[in-house]
């Protein structure tokens, strides 16, 4: 295992995953660094490093009471910030729209159970169901069911902050039949 190469290959995605999970840039940086420090004690074949790092980071977040406390505080602050007045919510300013979307995304994500959040975020990083099952410690056969439910819950909770986005997508990204453009590329992922 080339530690330098592992760092450069996996650091951006691991940070993105952990930051989405905990919602705090500094905390995410600490978790990512700790994960890499632990990797020093676990020389692994290259093809196992990525899943191992994500598993360790997930466990660090899950097991650290300090993080939970900090997350709860951040969550409370975020709820307060997301309580936009109607006037503010209708303000066409792009910054306001973006802030609203960020708040909506965070609130929707934090409304999921910890396990569903971890699974959804690992799916976003392209992990296979078997890898997710191992990292999150759930039965492999239940990953699809749990993911489908989490996906629908999360997407449903995003309304209405992403309505504008979807209108833009419908105008610029629709196929001829008016459906969102998305090829079956994922279906060929295997």
């Amino acid at each position: 295992m080339d530690f330098d190469a592992a760092y450069h290959s996996h650091h951006p995605a691991l940070y993105r995953y952990v930051h989405r999970l905990v919602g705090d840039p500094d905390l995410a940086a600490d978790v990512v660094q700790e994960s890499f420090v632990r990797l020093l004690d676990h020389p692994l074949p290259d093809d196992e490093v990525r899943r191992w790092l994500f598993t360790v980071a997930t466990n660090l977040v899950r097991d650290d009471a300090r993080m939970r406390t900090r997350r709860q505080r951040l969550l409370a602050e975020r709820y307060e910030r997301s309580d936009l007045s109607p006037d503010a919510a209708e303000e066409p300013d792009r910054t306001a729209v973006r802030s609203e979307r960020i708040a909506a995304a965070r609130v929707a994500l934090d409304a999921l159970s910890e396990r569903d959040r971890q699974m959804l975020l690992m799916r976003e990083e392209g992990f296979r169901y078997a890898e997710i099952a191992e990292a999150i410690d759930v039965a492999p056969g239940s990953v699809g069911t749990l993911l489908a439910r989490a996906l629908r819950r999360f997407a449903g909770a995003l309304d209405p902050a992403f309505r504008t986005y979807e209108k833009e997508e419908a105008e610029h990204g629709s196929d001829e039949g008016g459906n969102p453009v998305d090829s079956d590329a994922n279906a060929e992922r295997s």
Partner: protein, 252 residues
């Protein structure tokens, strides 16, 4: 027969075998209702991705932090016997800086007593802490966000900065803190008694000098660019001669 969300998502995520995919395609051709549900899931998936991307911020430390690089370099195969280096990496910058500050307080005391037997010990400790912060002197330049602080010795402190001048902007300020403080996102640090060396600095470097210092000097590439005397901070005439940008922050 109606397919479950789980099956549809597994198809979308490429989790089905080739045979299962063929079967699913045939089913979707024959079942407009399930084809519509697949589109819903696909759309939900895109919505989730778009929403999560709004949360993203740039990852810090695209280059490995100095402490982690040092731990990796010191970790022999199998990577199990470099506990001190790993502890240093785990502690991160602030804890190391706190340790450095403690040692430097001792250093000030030891230096104040001529002939003190602690003097050599403290000097070695200061050097060791400096190495811990800045990495081994023979090692490569290690960028990383960090800050260091040092107590003045006999009221004097020196901050010596070097780096690619065209990429360097140094802001000097005076604070009520008792210590001199330097922070930079990309730099290596070495701390000695009454002195901070900042090497391979890029981008913004912030230097805070203690107002209580009787004499504090900031050098860039060996040239004195700012001096604090009796609480008054001034740029030197040489400050404008280099390519590094030197700024003085007005007293708050």
């Amino acid at each position: 027969m109606r397919r479950s969300d789980e099956e549809l998502l597994a198809y979308l995520d490429g989790e089905l075998s080739a045979d299962e995919r063929r079967s699913m395609r045939a089913h979707l051709d024959a079942s407009p209702e399930d084809a519509r549900r697949l589109d819903e899931l696909r759309f939900a998936s895109r919505r989730v991705t778009a929403a999560l991307e709004t949360l993203d911020v740039p990852a810090p430390w695209p280059e490995m932090p100095a402490t982690l690089r040092e731990a990796a370099r010191n970790a022999p195969r199998p990577l199990t016997s470099a506990p001190s280096a790993r502890r240093a990496a785990r502690f991160g910058g602030r804890s190391v800086v706190a340790a450095a500050a403690l040692i430097l307080v001792l250093a000030a005391g030891a230096y104040a007593v001529p002939g003190s037997p602690l003097r050599d010990f403290v000097s070695r400790s200061v050097s060791a802490i400096g190495s811990l912060i800045g990495g081994a002197p023979e090692g490569p330049a290690d960028p990383g966000p960090s800050e260091v602080a040092v107590d003045p010795i006999d009221g004097r402190v020196l901050v010596a900065i070097s780096g690619p001048s065209r990429d360097l902007r140094v802001t000097v300020a005076v604070t009520m803190d008792e210590r001199a403080n330097v922070s930079a996102r990309v730099a290596s640090f070495r701390v000695e008694a009454g002195r901070i060396d900042v090497t391979d600095a890029r981008g913004d470097v912030r230097v805070e000098l203690p107002r209580s210092a009787t004499g504090a000097v900031v050098e860039v590439d060996g040239v004195e660019v700012a001096r604090l005397v009796d609480g008054v901070l001034r740029l030197t005439p040489e400050a404008g001669t280099g390519t590094a940008e030197i700024l003085i922050e007005p007293a708050g």
